[in-house]
Amino acid sequence: MKAVSIILFLTIALFASDNKDIMRAQILEKIILNISINETITVWSDNKELLAGFRKSNHLIISDICDKATVIIIENKKELNDDTCKNKPIFVLNYNLLKEVPKSFGAFFWKKGRPNIVIIESRIKSQNISVSKELNAYIEEKVW
């Protein structure tokens, strides 16, 4: 019985953790699909699970290298070494990165267990990124 309970618990835990990753990939996918830039969106991320998630849904064009991407999603600032990449539209996975990466136009992150989206108005304008109405609720004037 105990063994059954443990297996059940692990399965649920695993499922929950998978769910969180899947959910993040889905939200990000929706965000990317609701923005438009001057060229075709090709996404690169330092988070491999995220890329794998995008690949599964097949809605986004994925690039394995930062150079060929048109939109970059980063979790870790250190991964952003290449100068070419630094100048591309960047979406971050941490609120604080918005402050640290000047080119970052938006963030998706978990705050106190809840999913949060922030899109910085001035940065999207400066990078000629337009966002659909659906994302209006998340647009902020600045990074606080």
Binding site: M1, K2, S5, A16, K20, Y95, W110, K111, K112, G113, R114, P115, N116, I117, V118, A137, Y138, E140, W144
Partner: protein, 637 residues
């Protein structure tokens, strides 16, 4: 009675399962109550502290509008001061404590975050979805959010910061799942115990149900005759104690000349006829009548007469007509068959079911004797009731023995003292019990008198003897009643086997009981003549025991006269018996009959008989009956 026991066990398990589920439900209810109580206690504590902070904040800084609150916390020192105060609420259970404010675009923003981890910036946007965040502004009362989708959070407590009756900000306290985990962990063994117990009980219930199911499947097999798909004798035995005979009439059905079908067309044809006939039986009766294959071609029909006392005759007549009108087609042959039926209309008047069966069987016997293909009804008013000493099991006992081939013959030598040779053997019926005990005929024959079973038994004995003596040179005597002799089936069997084999016929002696009620002397003579014509011999058995019609004895021209044992057994002591036996021997000699003395049980009797001119002797002194044919060397041992 496995079944009853199993039903009781199942019922008890069912009650136990309900009881356990009730307890389990109570435990779960108690768990929720514990949750609620702890929750309320904790909320109360937090609420009192927040109330004090709110009071201090609003009064000390004269907060009137949300903007006042924003400007208050814009100051980093004030913010840090209140973060410090609020952080005192943080425990292992209280994970986050912060103040929110709703801006003009209805977005919630952090004004202060006292949390140790995942700290938010001042005025950072906070995306919330729960309707309670809006509700608190309308209701101006604390709100409690039960978290389901937020990781590691169990509750969020929202407390309004009120000023002049308006909500200017919200205290938001996130409570972790720790407390829930602790309660769950402490209650888990109890829950596991109940879960295991319920599973165990359900398993037991499942096993009991399986057993009950198997019982019904097996029961159906046990109580159903595989060939005719009717009930069998086991079923009759099972229902007998519960059967209310007042509601039934009892009919015995027997297919006429069924043996001839087996002999002429083979057993497969016989089985087919039985199957088809039983189908016709079933179609001719009603749903509440019970048809039982009693054995062989014999059926018992329990006719429900609750509504109409005369239905039994109607049903039996219908059944007889339906069988009679049917042409059974088998292997290109058109086979006709008839059925004889004996009915006991009121079996409840008998001591028990077996007695009723016996009477119905007697009626069947009469139906057969009267030319077959008819229904004979027992009228209890015309029959004097005699209490039979028969054991109620006897008729079924013989029936079962016949069906299971447990009817055998023992053979007692009849000794010719003049040449020291065995003259012939007398065949004597025995039944081998299921426990392999040899049952003597005294225990079952008297009860069979005037029943259909009697001539079935006789017929079987005839077949055993004909088969055994067909290929040897020995001579054998067979006991037969007058009633058997006039039975058409028995007559047919005798003719069939002896007319084609004169060698066998010449070695067969039919010993006819002199004491038997010979009500039709002419018919008796006719049947004896038939035996003579087949070259078989005739012996008058037990001569001197009953009424002696010397004329008839002379007329039938019997070959042998067997003097009754009652005259022989004391012949060494009783001079009168000696004289009677001497007269009989003289009469036999004059009538051209040879004499046989039975019951020669001692040397004295044997020697006394030597003084008379008796031809043959038999008895335990010479040899007891054996399952095999003893040789002369075995005699007098």
């Amino acid at each position: 009675m496995v079944k009853k026991k199993e039903f009781i066990i199942f019922f008890l398990l069912f009650l136990l399962a309900i009881f356990i589920i009730y307890i389990y439900r109570d435990v779960t209810k108690a768990k929720n109550e514990i949750f609620d109580r702890i929750e309320n206690y904790q909320i109360e504590q937090i609420s009192s502290v927040l109330k004090n902070i709110e009071k201090d904040m609003v009064t000390s800084f004269d907060i009137k509008t949300p903007d006042d609150l924003i400007s208050l916390f814009s100051d980093i020192d004030t913010r840090k001061k209140y973060e410090h105060i609020i952080s005192l609420l943080l425990t292992s259970n209280v994970k986050y404590a912060y103040i929110l404010h709703k801006d003009e675009k209805d977005r919630f923003r952090f004004l202060l975050d006292a949390s140790q981890s995942d700290k938010a910036e001042f005025y950072q946007k906070f995306d919330v979805t729960s309707p309670e965040y809006e509700a608190i502004y309308k209701e101006k009362k604390p709100q409690l959010i039960k978290q389901h989708d937020v990781e590691n959070l169990y509750l969020t407590y929202l407390y309004p910061i009120l000023s002049n009756g308006n909500v200017v900000g919200i205290f938001s306290i996130d409570i972790t799942t720790n407390i829930q985990k602790i309660i769950l962990e402490s209650i888990k063994p109890l829950e596991t115990f109940f879960t295991v117990l319920i599973i165990f009980i359900l398993l037991l219930m499942g096993m009991t149900i399986t057993q009950i199911f198997h019982y019904f499947v097996t029961r159906k097999k046990i109580f159903t005759d595989p060939l005719t798909k009717t009930f069998n004798r086991n079923y009759l035995e099972e229902i007998a104690p519960m059967l209310n005979l007042k509601h039934y009439s009892l009919a015995m059905l027997d297919l006429d000349k069924f043996k001839a079908i087996n002999d002429s067309y083979g057993h497969k044809a016989g089985d087919y006829i039985l199957f088809r006939a039983s189908m016709i039986f079933k179609e001719s009766i009603r749903e509440n009548d019970i048809l039982i294959r009693y054995g062989g071609e014999e059926f018992i029909l329990l006719i429900n007469n609750r509504n109409n006392d005369n239905t039994n005759t109607d049903i039996c007549e219908r059944l007889r007509n339906n069988i009679s009108n049917e042409i059974f087609k088998y292997d290109g042959n058109d086979i006709k068959i008839k059925v004889s039926i004996g009915i006991h209309k009121h079996p409840a008047l008998e001591k028990n079911l077996q007695e009723a069966i016996k009477i119905a069987d007697e009626m069947l016997y009469i139906a057969k004797k009267s030319g077959r293909n008819r229904v004979i009804i027992y009228d209890e008013k015309e029959h004097t009731k005699t209490s039979s000493s028969a054991s109620s099991k006897d008729i079924s006992y013989v029936k079962e023995a016949l069906d299971e081939d447990r009817v055998i013959c023992h053979f007692q030598p009849i000794y010719n003292h003049k040449n020291g040779e065995i003259f012939k053997y007398e065949a004597l019926v025995r039944i081998v019990s299921k426990e392999n005990i040899i049952i003597s005929p005294m225990q079952f024959l008297p009860q069979l008198k005037h029943t259909n079973m009697h001539y079935k038994l006789t017929q079987r004995i005839l077949l055993i003897i004909f088969e055994k003596f067909k290929y040897n040179q020995k001579t054998v005597s067979i006991n037969i009643n007058f009633s058997d002799l006039i039975n058409p089936d028995i007559e047919e069997t005798i003719i069939k086997h002896l007319s084609e084999n004169h060698h066998l016929a010449s070695r067969i002696t039919f010993e006819i009981l002199e004491s038997d009620e010979i009500d039709n002397v002419e018919l008796f003579k006719q049947k004896i003549n038939l035996l003579h014509s087949l070259k078989a011999k005739v012996s008058i058995d037990d001569f001197g025991s009953g009424y002696s019609n010397f004329r008839t004895i002379i007329d039938v021209e019997a070959n042998f006269l067997k003097i009754d044992g009652s005259l022989i057994k004391n012949i060494d002591k009783n001079n009168k018996d000696f004289k009677v036996v001497k007269s009989i021997i003289h009469f036999a000699s004059q009538s051209n009959m040879q004499t046989i003395a039975e019951f020669v049980h001692s040397k004295e009797v044997y020697e006394k008989l030597l003084l008379l001119d008796i031809d043959y002797m038999q008895g335990f002194y010479i040899s007891e009956p054996k399952a095999f044919l003893v040789e002369k060397e075995e005699l007098f041992k």
